[in-house]
């Protein structure tokens, strides 16, 4: 089982991101379960959503306390919430930021985990026209984790958003995917 925890703030599409991840996994023939942390929905408040992916039926209903991967939609949460709680060694961390891990004071994490900083809000502004980073982050997550094909992520985005908004988010996801691949190559080189 592969477990992903997504941290963000109310209004950033955190819950929708987990749902789209589950749809992308479903489209690849996997079992997937996505659920929110069930808080009162308030714009700007810290929000957590979860997604489990497996080859067999998922019965477990507890929150994800030991994630294999983290998607952090808002870097300001680093000072407010223990977003890294329970992250498995070697786990994957994707952060929405235009700054580097070193700038964020997370130099230690670079050695311990598979990390990437992605300017998803900027990509969303460019392709969608609104600062909603979730679809871009999923495109980036596809590249970073190697768990889901970009095509499945794009199809999942199109299930949630139709028309111009959908295509904008698909473009943002594609651009993010490319960005992360480049970062990974640069790191390997």
């Amino acid at each position: 089982m592969f477990q992903i925890r997504i941290h963000g703030r109310g209004g950033q599409g955190v819950v929708t991101a987990a749902e789209m991840l589950s749809v992308a996994a479903f489209l690849e023939g996997k079992h997937a379960q996505a659920f929110p942390s069930f808080g009162s929905e308030r714009t700007g408040a810290p929000v957590v959503a979860f997604c489990r992916i497996d080859d067999k039926e998922i019965r477990l209903r507890e929150p994800i306390m030991q994630p294999d991967a983290l998607i952090i939609q808002d870097p300001t949460l680093l000072h407010q919430v223990d977003v890294f709680a329970g992250l498995a060694p070697g786990g994957t961390v994707l952060i929405n930021t235009a700054r580097s891990f070193a700038d964020l004071g997370l130099q230690d994490f670079i050695e311990k985990f598979k990390v990437c900083a992605l300017p998803a809000t900027e990509l969303a502004l460019k392709h969608v026209g609104r600062p909603l980073p979730n679809a871009a982050l999923l495109g980036g997550f596809s590249a970073l984790s190697g768990r889901l094909a970009l095509g499945s992520v794009k199809a999942a985005i199109r299930e949630k958003f139709s028309g111009k908004v959908g295509e904008g988010n698909v473009a943002a996801a594609g651009a993010a995917h490319e960005y992360v691949l480049k970062e990974l190559h640069a790191e390997a080189a």
């Binding site: 379960q33 308030r42 477990l60 209903r61 507890e62």
Partner: protein, 417 residues
């Protein structure tokens, strides 16, 4: 057809496949997505004829459902928590009049203190209102139970409540196999009411009944629920033949054959319980699970038979009868009358507290050594409670309890993010 859907949306689609003719809607979390989904389906014209009625309260929702059902229409509504309480009087009317209404309850705690999260207090508070109560383990089972519920309700002329865990199921995306309209039509015949308000053949429904006949009317209600116990397994078997999967029935055993310890539970927590039991089984522990799908009527004999080999029983429940302890456990104890088997009651998940494998494994291990308290509150912060109690002993005007507890756990009243 396999789909990846939100639980609420899956239920809305399944209910639409049952061709309800009247849907009464009043929003309350965590049920709202279900009636919203149905509203969209009715508006699209895909479900016709169907009247979607926005009502002014839950009391009105059930009252409209009663009127619609008495007029011969297949009627559906959904609610949760305080909404269920607000329709309590009408619930007794629906069952007392024998009207086959189907209602989803997206299980949620009852205030005060106000809490929108999941537990079973709402359904449990209405367990004796004369409705059949079915509890879903997964979203697949939730949608399947709705299809069975209309069949059950109309064959027995009794209302049926399908209970699904609020948020945990209603807001979870997971894979479901959505049946086709043809499959549902073949399983669920057209509504043929036992009683109908028809101007061509006028009758009155809802007579005043005095001491001369009230006992007989109530006794018949009991007989009908007992009949349901006989009939439900057969209908579940028929469902399995028609749809190719298990859903419904009275109880579902898991790894129970040689189990010395059996955990009894209802609803979505069964998944976490089964995962915990698998891990304990891998270490050689003889533990099994009995899932109760049909809580009302209470499947006395089925529970008694299934627990026949158990040396001890752990009832895990998301409800509390204040001043008594467990509700499900009280029922389990009646099913074990005459047997010297300890029944441990584990109250868990109140107001949405997460029920984890780790906490369950600890409680089950204590039970296996007969070291568990007969009534245990899983993951209770005992220190917090004791500090509040100490303050109450010291200070007369100790203040409101909920606010004091929040202060103790380090959260302001508005800090539940």
């Amino acid at each position: 057809m396999l789909k990846q859907l939100e639980g609420s949306h899956a239920v809305a689609e399944a209910v639409a496949l049952c061709r309800p003719e009247v849907i009464c809607a009043y929003p309350i979390s965590p049920q709202t997505h279900i009636v919203e989904g149905l509203g969209e389906i009715v508006k699209s014209g895909a479900l016709s004829p169907c009247e979607f009625i926005n009502v002014e309260s839950e009391f009105a929702a059930m009252s409209v459902a009663i009127g619609a059902s008495a007029a011969g229409a297949r009627a559906y509504t959904a609610t949760a928590s305080q909404g269920l309480l607000f329709m309590a009087e009408a619930l007794f009317n629906a069952s007392g009049l024998g009207l086959p209404i189907v209602m989803t309850v997206a299980n949620r705690a009852i205030g005060a203190p106000i809490n929108i999260w999941n537990d079973h207090t709402d359904s449990m508070s209405q367990r004796d209102c004369g409705w059949i109560q079915l509890f879903a383990e997964t979203n697949q089972e939730a949608l399947d139970l709705h299809i069975q519920a209309f069949r059950l309700a109309e064959e027995l002329s009794l209302p049926v409540m399908v209970c699904m865990d609020g948020f945990i199921l209603t807001h979870a995306y997971e894979r479901v196999d959505m049946p086709s309209q043809q499959q549902v039509d073949a399983y669920l015949p057209k509504f043929n009411p036992r009683q109908i308000l028809d101007p061509a053949e006028p009758v009155s429904i809802g007579a005043m009944v005095g001491p001369e006949a009230f006992t007989e009317v109530r006794y018949l209600a009991h007989v009908k629920q007992m009949q349901a116990l006989e009939l439900i397994p057969g209908w579940a078997a028929e469902f399995r033949r028609a749809f190719g999967r298990n859903a419904g029935g009275l109880v579902h055993p898991y790894a129970i054959e040689d189990a010395e310890t059996v955990v009894v539970a209802l609803g979505s927590v069964l998944g976490t319980v089964k995962d915990t039991v698998d891990e304990m089984r891998a270490q050689g522990v003889k533990i099994g699970v009995l899932g109760v799908t049909c809580f009302r009527p209470w499947p006395h004999m089925a529970v008694r038979t299934m627990l026949g080999g158990a040396k001890r029983v752990v009832v895990l429940e998301k409800s509390l009868a204040v001043g008594v302890g467990g509700i499900v456990s009280t029922n389990v104890r009646t099913a074990l009358t005459g047997r010297a088997v300890p029944v441990y009651d584990v109250i868990a998940g109140l107001g949405g507290r997460a029920i984890t494998k780790a906490s369950l494994a600890r409680a089950f291990a204590l039970a296996m050594n007969d070291q568990l308290d007969l009534t245990t509150f899983l993951d209770l912060e005992r220190g917090v409670v004791e500090r509040v109690l100490a303050r109450e002993r010291e200070v007369r005007r100790s203040g409101p309890i909920a606010e004091n507890i929040l202060r103790e756990v380090g959260m302001g009243a508005a800090g539940t993010g």
